[in-house]
């Protein structure tokens, strides 16, 4: 990657500093705030008003003495992955709208004439925006996640210690956040490929729209279904069903790329003991890499991006 391309990435970050850089850290701050609220309410207010002074300590004692280490690990991993998905969901929405505006906003405010007066090709421009969506945004998200989870891990340990629990024995010894972060990073790499057709489509709509890129991005699949119902005089949407399922899988993965065994009931903990190694289910992600669905999607995504580059070059509606 040369210095020119880094400048293009820098440009995107300047424009979207709030969404791309601050958001993951704001998510961490909000979760820390929620943690403090629940921590205070369970340990402080119950003590004060219920008179059940030793409830919290009792719970800690129970966890320390009665729970199996494997069960503890499952709970803590579910906590780490569960909070990670909050970051994932928020950043998916941020990147969704980033892509939708990426090739539209500068046409609307006519600053495209400034960008196009620079020796930067339209392909470089489009690729720089794609790299932001699939590489830079996930990296920053991971950074925000790591900082946020360190704060959560340390402060929950402190809370446990304040009430006479042993944070090492109860929390810290059971899981390896380093491993979890590495796994989350690997998931992001799969996401980059899996969501390529979605982001490519959004950028295509962004390059195409003369107004309302959101409608241009969302209406075609809807119209396709309507057209199919007319053409075939049927409510059996065979063709559009394939497309809708393709889209739905992307959204599902965009919000939650990995499923979590969040049920701490007896059976699941037993399953955790006997079979499931981790709270997070990696089989989904691995299956995705090996699937035709992913690679067909990558091909479609490249076509959409080529279309976006073409439109960026040929559309000259910035000025009238």
């Amino acid at each position: 990657m040369n210095a020119r391309f880094l400048t293009l990435l820098q440009r995107e970050i300047w424009e979207h500093r709030g969404g791309l850089i601050y958001t993951p850290f704001i998510v961490g701050a909000v979760m820390f705030g929620l943690f403090l609220l629940t921590g205070i309410s369970t340990f402080y207010w119950t003590d004060k008003f219920d008179g059940s002074t030793h409830m919290a300590e009792g719970a800690l004692k129970f966890a320390e003495t009665q729970l199996d280490p494997a069960q503890m690990r499952l709970i803590i991993e579910a906590f780490l992955w569960g909070t990670a998905l909050v970051w994932q969901m928020v950043m998916f929405i941020v990147v969704f709208f980033y892509c939708l505006g990426s090739l539209y906003d500068d046409r609307r405010d006519r600053s495209i004439l400034f960008w196009k007066s620079m020796p930067v090709s339209d392909m470089e421009t489009v690729l720089s925006k794609l790299v932001i969506a699939v590489v830079i945004a996930p990296i920053v998200m991971l950074a925000g996640l790591i900082v946020g989870q360190i704060v959560l891990i340390v402060s929950s340990g402190a809370l446990v210690a304040m009430h006479g629990g042993n944070p090492w024995k109860l929390l810290w010894s059971h899981s390896n956040p380093l491993l979890m972060w590495a796994q989350f990073g690997a998931v992001q790499a799969v996401q980059a490929l899996y969501l390529l057709p979605l982001f490519g489509w959004l950028m295509l709509a962004s390059a195409f729209a003369r107004g309302r890129p959101f409608l241009w991005a969302t209406l075609p699949p809807i119209l396709l279904s309507i057209a199919e119902s007319w053409l075939r005089f049927t409510t059996d949407f065979t063709f559009s069903k394939v497309i809708w399922e393709f889209i739905a899988r992307r959204f599902a993965a965009g919000f939650a790329p990995i499923s979590i065994n969040a049920d701490f009931g007896e059976t699941n903990i037993n399953a955790g003991l006997s079979g499931t190694k981790y709270a997070a289910n990696f089989d989904d992600v691995l299956a995705r890499v090996m699937s035709i669905d992913l690679w067909v999607g990558v091909g479609i995504g490249i076509l959409f991006l080529a279309g976006a580059i073409y439109l960026r070059r040929y559309r000259d509606d910035a000025t009238s």
């Binding site: 400048t7 440009r11 007066s117």
Partner: protein, 284 residues
Amino acid sequence: MTAVITARQLSKRFRQKTALDNVNFSVQQGRIVGLIGPNGAGKTTALKAILGLTPYEGELDVLGHNPFRDRSALMQDVSFIADVAILPRWIRVSEAIQYVEGVHPRFVRSKCERFLAATEVRPTMRVRELSKGMIAQLHLALVMAIDARLLILDEPTLGLDILYRRRFYEQLLNDFFDETRTILVTTHQVEEIEHILTDLLFIKSGTIALSTTMEDVAQRYCQVLVSNDRLEAARSMRPISERKLLGKTALLFDGVPQHQAREFGEVHQVGVADLFVAVMGGTA
């Protein structure tokens, strides 16, 4: 002389209308060319074609490039300022400088900073906080710090007050222009720049109505203030336009020698605006 821009049979057709209709013209190095025409005549379309922003029919050569095919390469040698509204409003002055420095191999940061030091523009300001005049100063500083061979200005001083307008062109002449560079400019305030122009290109409904140099204009055209008693005689010389002026009639002649014109009255240099009105006829 070397041609910086050569257009042959240049056309641009939209669905509804023809913006450029088989236009031929060339622009030579070291000239300051005014591209002048009424609204909708095709000025902006011509500039966009030259800048590689729009596809076209016909042949167009800008500094040896096919502009639409090689836009990004061409932009190393060509700079462009449209009216002040095109700098992104969210960007900081320091970021704009860093961006141009990062993508443009011929940008000299120290030059840009020197130009800006003479203004009220500060590096930490965002474009949206600047006045129109300051935005124009920033854009001009960015562009003048680029060692470009061709500068294209599309209504660069639109909406600026007279002080900023005058300073804009003065700076351009003093700190940027020399015989190796070429400037192509469109503006409605033609009186303000006619003293810096060396060439004129009048464009009228997608065709070139006049392509000439300022020296030629001075030789070829003259304006005579004729009193009413001599009007009929003067009209026999077939003026290309006439208008009432202070009880007399100002007649504009094409190709009538000065000594002959002097017989009818006081002879004046022709202003670009008068010439424009005369050549454009009823359309302006």
